[in-house]
Symmetry: C2
């Protein structure tokens, strides 16, 4: 499975999409992420492993805890690559429009 495939599989689950959103403010420990959801710690851990396998997050140990960090480049890169492959003209157009507005 290519990494784009892993990314799209990972994003298929609403809990995992929400997890990435929780991480947009910076690193969080697995337990801190878990506290935002009504599912068990093992389930949280499994979701994080799937996000990590897709390289949508990275982890580092901090003493007792494991901190997860969002990898925006993977998300942006994968989604934009697919968008460009499927509708290149509209994507380019949309970027011009967005740039003009800013």
């Amino acid at each position: 499975m290519g990494n784009a495939a892993r990314v799209f599989r990972a994003l298929a689950d609403p809990t995992r999409r929400q997890m990435l959103e929780e991480l947009k403010g910076g690193e969080l420990a697995a337990g801190e992420i878990g506290a935002r959801f009504a599912i068990s710690a093992p389930s949280i851990s499994r979701h994080l492993a799937i996000l990590k396998a897709a390289e949508l997050v990275t982890e580092r140990r901090d003493g007792n805890r494991i901190l997860y960090r969002l990898e925006p480049a993977t998300l942006i890169g994968s989604l934009n690559a697919y968008l460009s492959a499927v509708c290149p003209t509209q994507v380019r157009q949309r970027r011009r429009i967005a740039a003009r507005r800013s």
Copy 2:
């Protein structure tokens, strides 16, 4: 299930992602799409129904056949909405960079 959720579920399958790419050149009949894949017509039909439920394609009958058309706005809108929710600063930046290059 919101429509963004249906879009991400639909994109989780590699056959369906490929189907959208096949449709980027314009309308195709279900059978013409099916001819590009090594799976049965009923399976093709099921994939198309999932893409249609996510509003990633629309269909219209043409005599005997049913023509499918890509809906780029749904794809671009859903993916960009999520990108903006998860990493707004990088997305904005990337658009400026893309606009500067063009």
